[in-house]
């Protein structure tokens, strides 16, 4: 029996480390050049959730931008989950991630969302304060990650997979 699959879209500002996160966690079936040409790169990963079984995440890494155009909106169609990625060292990227979440709601009203604050390895330079993070955690799961060291990366995908498996 094949594992059930869920489409997950990864959104975030330019340079927040989305592609690095995917590279750290996924199979890397396709080249990164698709990001600059088609504007998206698709990859997949099977996540073992234990009791519920295995869930396959098909992750659409959408090229970084602050506003979703019509093409990006079409890429979002059919997605069950969203991975919002922000750079802890750039508070503006957090605002962009929230904006993108709000924009995507017009297409994905019920999609599960997980916020990733990346670049944990540069935590001493973070502009995003703990109070902000605490406030955000009240509305959605927030996970700090480091694409460089790999800290929190698997946890972030696992968290989304668990929510999708419900």
């Amino acid at each position: 029996m094949t594992a059930p699959a869920r489409k997950v879209c990864m959104l975030g500002d330019f340079g927040v480390g989305k592609t690095s996160l995917v590279a750290r966690y996924m199979r890397n079936t396709f080249s990164d050049t698709y990001l600059t040409t088609v504007g998206v790169k698709v990859d997949s990963k099977e996540v073992d959730l234990g009791e519920p079984g295995v869930l396959k995440l098909v992750v659409w890494d959408i090229a970084g931008r602050s506003v979703l155009d019509a093409l990006n909106m079409s890429y979002l169609r059919g997605a069950s989950g969203l991975l919002l990625v922000a750079d802890g060292t750039r508070e503006a990227s957090l605002r962009t991630a929230i904006d993108l979440l709000l924009q995507s709601r017009s297409v994905l009203a019920d999609a599960e969302a997980v916020l990733i604050i990346n670049k944990l390895d540069l935590v001493e330079r973070w502009e995003v304060g703990p109070s902000t993070l605490a406030g955000l955690r009240q509305t959605m799961p927030v996970i700090e990650t480091s694409a460089l060291s790999g800290d929190g990366v698997e946890q972030a995908f696992l968290e989304l997979a668990k929510r999708l498996a419900r």
Partner: protein, 588 residues
């Protein structure tokens, strides 16, 4: 040292030291540079390959570009040993491909298999090229993906056995993304969608349904019927698609939809092949009636044509047989175009019956036969008999007959007639021998041709005149032919002797008839050669005949009075000499 020098030394001591140091450094740098040029190859070799090649890539490319622009000939010369083999290899590959195609064409065109395919094409009404494609196409379906249209998730997939595993979900996702990208780039949200992608021998077909798309990864050239089969399968799936299928189909749904069986690559190929055959079979077979009618018309036309030609040939052969059997006519050729034209060529004796009645009886339809004949003397017995009758003018009491060239003259006749004709009979053309069985009647005194008495009867005189005229006619018929100049033909000796005898006899008859003879000796020439030369030739030939007649015993006075006619005569353009005899009344 002067004060000035000392002052300068004190003031510029530091600068001088610096200058010396700088000079020393320049000298050192120049030395290092000189040594660096020698050490550079070794340093380049010793350097790590990757950073060195990265560092050199850009300047080397720029240098190569400059070199191509400035010194193209040197670059071409340097690359020549490389370019030659590459071109030869490309040409060899192209030729191999062409030979392969040619072999395939020949194989399909003339082999038993090709003939079988031709018959199949004729029987099924399918173009031959399509039959060849049907039998020679080799394609394989590698993967079939049933993809949820919005999410791009794979609902179900089937792959041919033995292929390496692939990330179907990622591929389906990228395919969906690219299709959306293409649609967004060229057509917006219209109904247009990506239908096919081809790279080399790999082909990707995408068939869109309302909820799911079917992506078929193919190698080779598939028939059009495969797309029909795929469309059919997609419609079947949509007809039974669960309302809430979600992003994947469970095993129960897959079994209910029969996806494994319906989308299995081998099953799709088989269904496509069956559909192609059924399509060919259901195609209306072309009616044979027009072909049969055309064939019948051709057979009838050919039959009529050959019958027509056979009838013509039969009639021409009958005419030919009639012409060959016609006495006094020698058939040389017949030019015929069936039912259009007929021309008869041959030789006709003056005493022969005319050919026209024979041609009229040939029944050649609208064709009016034309005749082209030249004169000749026939040795046919019937013609020789007619000639003898005309020349001998035999009385009713004398009967003539010719058998195998022998002229038989029998009966009774006046002695005068006998005297005149007996000699003449032997000279008739075609007469080989004369069997003379004529008895002289008692009341007819025999005329003696020579030593004619001074006074002769009127009857004898008239008879002599008649004989003379006949003899003159015969003399004038004779023509002495020359091979060239004044060299006579071999047969001319006999003719000359005969002419001399006839002239002597004519003189005798003239004496009896009371007339006198005057000769005109004609010299003739053909038109070949210069006019002056021909005139001399004519004169020489006339003189030759006169001299030789004299030698043969003809009276000198007759020849001395003779007129030599040497004028050019268009009607006698032959190499010959001949006589014209004028009978002159003697006035008393």
């Amino acid at each position: 040292m002067s004060d000035f020098e000392r002052l300068r030394h004190l003031l510029l001591a530091d600068e001088r030291d610096k200058l010396a140091t700088a000079e020393q450094r320049i000298i050192e740098l120049e030395r290092v540079n000189r040594e660096l040029a020698a050490q550079l190859p070794g340093l380049v070799r010793a350097a790590p390959a990757e950073p060195m090649s990265r560092a050199l890539a850009s300047p080397v490319a720029a240098a190569l570009g400059n070199a191509v622009q400035r010194n193209r000939a040197s670059i071409v010369d340097a690359l020549f040993p490389v370019i030659g083999p590459i071109i030869r290899k490309a040409i060899a590959e192209a030729l191999r491909g062409m030979m392969r195609d040619l072999n395939q064409v020949l194989e399909h065109g003339f082999s038993p298999r090709g003939m079988r395919w031709r018959i199949e094409a004729w029987r099924s009404g399918v173009p031959f090229a399509q039959i060849v494609l049907k039998h020679s196409l080799r394609y394989q379906i590698d993967h079939v993906f049933l993809i949820e249209r919005d999410s791009g998730l794979v609902l179900h997939r089937e792959s041919a056995p033995g292929l390496p595993d692939l990330d179907a979900d990622a591929i389906a996702g990228m395919l969906t993304a690219i299709a959306q990208f293409v649609r967004d780039s060229v057509g917006g949200e219209g109904t247009e969608s990506l239908e096919a992608v081809r790279i080399g021998e790999h082909l990707l077909w995408v068939l869109d349904g309302p909820r799911a798309s079917l992506a078929c990864f193919i190698r080779g050239v598939p028939p059009a019927s495969l797309r029909v089969v795929l469309s059919d399968r997609l419609e079947q799936i949509h007809a039974q698609f669960p309302d809430a299928a979600g992003d994947t189909l469970d095993d129960e749904s897959i079994a209910r939809l029969g996806l494994s069986a319906n989308l299995e690559p081998a099953a799709l190929v088989a269904a496509s092949s069956a559909l192609g055959d059924a399509d060919a079979g259901s195609r209306k077979r072309p009616s044979l009636w027009p072909l049969l009618l055309i064939g019948l018309a051709i057979v009838l036309a050919l039959g009529w044509y050959f019958l027509h030609i056979a009838r013509w040939n039969e009639r021409v052969e009958a005419l030919q047989a009639g012409l060959r059997a016609h006495p006094g006519f020698l058939l040389t050729a017949i030019d015929a175009r069936p039912w259009r034209q007929l021309r008869v060529h041959g030789l006709l004796d003056a005493d022969a019956e005319p050919l026209q009645p024979l041609l009229d009886r040939a029944d050649l339809g609208e064709v009016q036969p034309s005749v082209e004949v030249a004169g000749y003397l026939s040795s046919d017995d019937a013609i020789v008999l007619k000639r003898a009758r005309r020349l001998l003018d035999a009385p009713a009491s004398v009967s003539l007959g010719v058998a195998d060239g022998v002229l038989v003259v029998s009966g009774e006749a006046a002695g005068e007639w006998i005297d005149r004709r007996r000699t003449q009979a032997a000279w008739i053309a075609g007469v080989r021998a004369v069997d003379w069985q004529v008895l002289a009647t008692a009341d007819s005194p025999k005329i003696m041709p020579v030593a004619r008495p001074a006074s002769v009867s009127v009857d004898a005189q008239a008879a002599a005149r008649d004989a003379l005229h006949a003899l003159v006619a015969e003399i004038e018929q004779a023509s002495l032919s020359f091979s060239h100049d004044t060299v006579p033909l071999a047969a001319s000796g006999d003719l000359l002797r005969h002419l001399a005898t006839s002239l002597r006899e004519a003189q005798s008859l003239a004496a009896v008839a009371g007339v006198r003879l005057h000769l005109a000796i004609h010299g003739c020439s053909d038109a070949t050669g210069a006019a002056e030369l021909n005139a001399r030739l004519r004169e020489q030939r006339a003189g030759w005949l006169r001299d030789n007649l004299r030698n043969a015993g003809v009276a000198t006075e007759l020849l001395d009075e003779a007129t030599l006619v040497t004028a050019a005569d268009a009607t006698a353009a032959i190499r010959a000499a001949m006589l014209r005899v004028q009978v002159v009344e003697v006035t008393r």
